[in-house]
């Protein structure tokens, strides 16, 4: 697999896995309005994934968008660990999404300056959506953190539970570094200061405490995942696995 293909899949995989997670809220949202808001976010993410998979498909020259989405196993997925984490309660979802959205806005902002024109265009398009997603998750986090005593305790716990998956977002491996040299990839490690700033700002408003430094989980760039991804994929890929080549 070429570096560019692998890199494109990492971005696409983040979008499809978080999109799948958000689609699981469909009909389970806390209110009708929020239900629709979360499904909208899911659809935005599927749209992003589709764009990046189309590019991956053109680089690969053989596999289709559906092949990438539905016929790869867990070890062949390269999404960041944080997006595959379970929805939990509404606060867990908001915290996970906020931490990822804050990264996503910075990432797409840089990707839109990539020397690879297609990645740059996809990045610019996705950035607009990511900004809205960040606005949505930030506002909810402030509301929950600065809400009742119970909601504060709950989201503080959500934050502690998921914190160990944040370091993975800023990792750089050989593929990243190689593509960074040619001006294609984003330097993830350079995003951490702005991410910190944003996270501190919102946690402050939400009256939440930033978790202490801890061991950070890693592995996604090599296809190593937490136990949740396999379950998610078995659900998402069921139809194509059970009825190969099924079409709408």
């Amino acid at each position: 697999m070429s570096n560019l293909l692998n890199y494109t899949l990492r971005i696409a995989d983040n979008a499809i896995i978080l999109g799948q997670r958000m689609s699981q809220w469909c009909s389970n949202g806390p209110t009708l309005e929020e239900d629709i808001a979360m499904v909208n976010i899911s659809l935005d993410l599927f749209g992003q994934a589709n764009g990046f998979y189309e590019y991956a498909s053109s680089i690969d020259g053989n596999k289709s968008v559906d092949d990438f989405a539905f016929l790869r196993s867990e070890r062949e997925y390269f999404n960041n660990l944080i997006v595959e984490q379970k929805n939990g309660h509404f606060g867990d979802t908001i915290v996970r999404n906020f931490l990822f959205d804050a990264y996503s806005v910075l990432f797409y902002n840089k990707l839109s300056e990539s020397k690879d024109e297609i990645l740059a265009a996809l990045g610019a398009k996705s950035l607009k959506e990511a900004k809205y997603h960040l606005r949505h998750s930030s506002n909810w986090l402030i509301r929950l953190g600065d809400g009742t005593e119970e909601s504060n305790i709950k989201v503080q716990k959500s934050l502690e539970d998921i914190w160990m998956y944040t370091g993975n977002l800023f990792e750089m491996d050989d593929i990243d570094n190689e593509l960074l040299k040619s001006g294609i990839a984003v330097d993830n490690s350079s995003l951490i200061n702005d991410w910190d700033k944003k996270v501190n700002e919102i946690l402050d408003k939400a009256k939440l405490n930033k978790p202490e430094d801890c061991y950070m989980q890693t592995g996604s760039k090599k296809g190593l995942h937490t136990e949740h991804l396999g379950h998610l994929l078995s659900d998402m890929q069921f139809l194509q696995r059970a009825y190969p080549n099924a079409k709408w």
Partner: protein
């Protein structure tokens, strides 16, 4: 959660320069949530360029029993209608 929420009326402006039109309502606990819910519910298909949300309690409505006193007096005042003018060809959105 719905017992903590207020109802907000939603007005969408479809194009710059046109009036905001009432499209429906949403539940929300604060103005930012109302705005975002309105965006998510009423502008999914490219309907708008601007959204207003107003708490329903701040909208004062006339009552149906006021109808006679409010509206009947204008029935016989045809001269208030600009029907005696021809519309210039270029005028739109009037």
């Amino acid at each position: 959660m719905s017992e903590n929420t207020d109802v907000w009326e939603v007005f969408i402006q479809s194009k710059n320069g046109l009036a905001h039109k009432h499209v429906g309502n949403v539940h929300a606990t604060d103005k930012e949530m109302a705005l975002q819910n309105a965006r998510d519910l009423y502008t999914r298909r490219n309907e708008g360029s601007c959204i207003w949300v107003v708490k329903s309690e701040y909208i004062i409505s006339s009552e149906s029993e006021d109808g006679e006193a409010f509206f009947d007096p204008s029935n016989d005042k045809m001269y208030r209608h600009p029907t005696f003018y021809t519309m210039p060809d270029g005028a739109k959105n009037i």
